[in-house]
């Protein structure tokens, strides 16, 4: 990957944060570079991924879904089967192992849907670390079940009442906490956002998704579809097809033998300001939470509120790698509305007996648009990033079964 300077993906990324936390970011970068190729670290990580998180997750051939559309073969990468119900655990185990080696005794995290908070609370229980989770007040209401689970696991859930009371403000509060308690606290960012080295670290720990897919398929898939909020499950599954060895060696981003990679953003209720979370599709570049990437903002550079029915996609920013991949046209970004995501939630449940998270439902919903264009001999992989139990209340309030 070409980068201008440290922590950049093309023009995007960087470390736009107060000086106070720069030394901690440097320390984290050094630790990450040291341990990512360390045998003992990797065997501990891999053992936990296998025996605790339940990896590798299956690549499931969705027969009824395939028959419904009558075109290409659809496979689901079952991240919903991970321990704690989503891909978030992959990153949390990796970062907790780093935190342990850095000698940090306390973990903080932000959460939207609660899946990252839950995964963080889980690894903190596992490693006996003190855990404080920042969560917007609105998200606490719509993700009641996850809040209860986090508390059960021994985490302290701190309600954030500033701003939009969702993921953006939870992230800001977590950063303020980190600035204050930097010496003994590690901040586990849940997505490929934030200052360098976070996007690199999170995408590395999530790349296990795509690396498994590579082993699970007999030929390179023709399409890979994943939802994009901050962008961690999508970067994870795209990773080997974007930054894998064969790509790096070829020096050619428009590689012939690459699947068509499609990222699905939350289209919300409309494309009006405040009605969606389609950051890459409708935003413009700027700085939020430590990195330069696409943002939803007004002409004065004030961050605008995002909206999505799914709390995990309800964020006005996106990871810098996605901004780079969009500009280079390596990944295509599309949007799916709240309404279509709800349809997909119900549709997949009835057709395949799998209740998807509302986030992942956005990727499923895109099949409606994609499948008519596919051929019978083509394969389509959808990253089913999480399961939908947590969304039952939201869906119940929005839909008659």
């Amino acid at each position: 990957m070409k980068s201008k300077s440290k922590g950049y993906f093309g023009n995007y990324g960087g470390m736009y944060v107060p000086e106070t936390i720069i030394p901690a970011l440097e320390e984290l970068e050094i630790a990450f570079n040291k341990y990512k190729n360390n045998k003992e670290f990797n065997s501990e990580l891999n053992l936990l991924l296998q025996t605790y998180a339940g990896r590798p997750t299956p690549l499931y051939f969705a027969k009824r879904l395939t028959e419904y559309f009558g075109r290409g073969k659809i496979y689901l990468k079952r991240e919903d089967l991970c321990h704690t119900g989503a891909h978030k655990i992959n990153n949390c185990i990796g970062q907790a192992l780093l935190a342990k080696r850095l000698g940090k005794k306390r973990i903080i995290a932000e959460t939207g849907a609660g899946q990252h908070g839950l995964a963080t609370a889980t690894v903190c229980a596992l490693f006996d670390l003190k855990c404080d989770i920042y969560m917007g007040k609105i998200d606490i209401q719509r993700q009641e079940l996850n809040v209860f689970k986090m508390k059960l696991l021994g985490a302290n859930v701190i309600p954030v009442e500033s701003g939009s009371q969702t993921l953006k403000d939870a992230t800001s509060e977590a950063i303020r906490d980190w600035i204050t308690n930097i010496k003994h606290t590690h901040y586990i960012i849940g997505s490929t956002v934030g200052p360098h080295p976070y996007p690199t670290i999170v995408s590395y720990f999530q790349s296990v998704i795509g690396k498994e897919v590579q082993k699970q398929v007999s030929k390179t898939p023709d399409y890979i579809v994943a939802c994009v909020g901050g962008g961690s499950n999508s970067i994870g599954i795209f990773y080997p097809y974007v930054w894998g060895n064969h790509v790096r060696n070829s020096r050619d981003y428009s590689l012939r033998n690459r699947p068509l990679l499609i990222g699905i953003e939350a289209g919300g209720t409309s494309f009006k300001n405040g009605h969606h979370a389609a950051t890459l599709s409708l935003g413009k570049p700027g700085v939020l939470h430590g990195s330069y990437s696409y943002l939803l903002q007004d002409k004065n550079g004030q961050i605008q509120e995002a909206h999505s029915i799914s709390a995990g996609l309800d964020y006005p920013g996106v990871g810098p790698q996605h901004a780079f991949l969009k500009d280079k046209k390596i990944v295509t970004y599309k949007t799916i509305s709240d309404k279509d995501a709800l349809w997909a939630f119900k549709f997949l449940s009835k057709l395949e007996g799998i209740i998807p998270a509302l986030e992942s439902s956005h990727a499923i919903a895109y099949l409606k648009h994609l499948m008519p264009k596919t051929k019978k001999n083509e394969t389509i992989i959808v990253c089913l990033s999480g399961r939908g139990d947590k969304d039952i209340n939201t869906v119940r309030g929005n839909h008659k079964l």
Partner: protein, 255 residues
């Protein structure tokens, strides 16, 4: 703060508590201050505690933008003639990077009235990102004042003090802005360390709320203090006579 040479730098959020008071507040502060930090309100002020966050939110609701601040400051220069311009001490624009980026950094540096503006403080622009912009600041004769923190090690202290223009802003606490009852024990050593590295003036900010703390910081060897949240609190709590209370508060630092 008996020493008259010590720099007294108050911070205000522009347009807080309302737009009308902005220029009167600048005038009042100018009676005792050496510089005035003018805060650009931002939706996501990461380095700020609850007091300045709230002021920022109110200022945004009042319709304050970087453009409004610039227009108003140009007004100081043109409308009120020379006499008022002299009444206002040099200003330092305090802004998070995104409002500056969207306005355009070079355009901003060109548009800021000079010499009314002395420089800028951008709290989320560490040296890694600031380096490439330094020549621009030089071209427009504005100082980019860089920040050091209690967590900054000696190598970085050297780099920052070398690159910082005008003076060096030492953050007194590991934390966000806001008044605090006690100064940290490490602060004294950090000031000494920094003074042994650089001849540039060192001003200390974050958490300095009264003249007693200011005197202490000066006795540690600092060249000045920045007072922010305490002023915002005062403005919030004294809606009826903010200017006279502000004057009394500022004078307490000069006694």
């Amino acid at each position: 703060m008996n020493n008259k040479k010590s720099l007294l730098i108050p911070y205000i959020t522009a347009g807080f508590p309302n737009k009308k008071l902005f220029v009167p507040i600048l005038k009042t502060l100018s009676e005792s201050a050496d510089f005035i930090e003018v805060g650009v309100p931002y939706s996501d002020p990461l380095a700020d505690g609850p007091t300045i966050q709230e002021a920022s939110k109110i200022a945004l609701e009042n319709g304050v933008s970087l453009k409004w601040i610039l227009e108003t400051c140009h007004g100081i220069k043109t409308l009120h003639a020379k006499s008022l311009q002299q009444e206002i001490k040099p200003l330092i624009l305090f802004s998070y990077f995104n409002p500056i980026l969207q306005y355009g950094l070079e355009k901003l540096l060109r548009d800021l009235p000079k010499p009314l503006f002395y420089g800028l403080i951008i709290p989320d622009l560490p040296i890694e990102e600031a380096k490439k912009y330094l020549p621009l600041f030089k071209n427009y004769k504005l100082n980019l004042i860089l920040l050091c923190a209690p967590t900054t090690n000696k190598i970085r202290l050297k780099q920052i003090s070398h690159l910082s223009n005008g003076f060096i802003y030492l953050v007194s606490v590991t934390g966000v802005t806001g008044t605090r009852n006690n100064l940290s024990k490490e602060l004294k050593n950090k000031i000494k360390e920094l003074k042994s590295i650089t001849k540039k003036p060192v001003v200390v900010g974050f958490g300095i709320s009264d003249s007693k703390q200011a005197s202490k910081v000066i006795s540690y060897g600092a060249d000045g203090v920045i007072v922010g949240s305490a002023i915002i609190k005062l403005l919030k709590e004294n809606k009826n006579n903010p200017l006279s209370r502000l004057r009394v508060f500022m004078n307490s630092f000069r006694r």
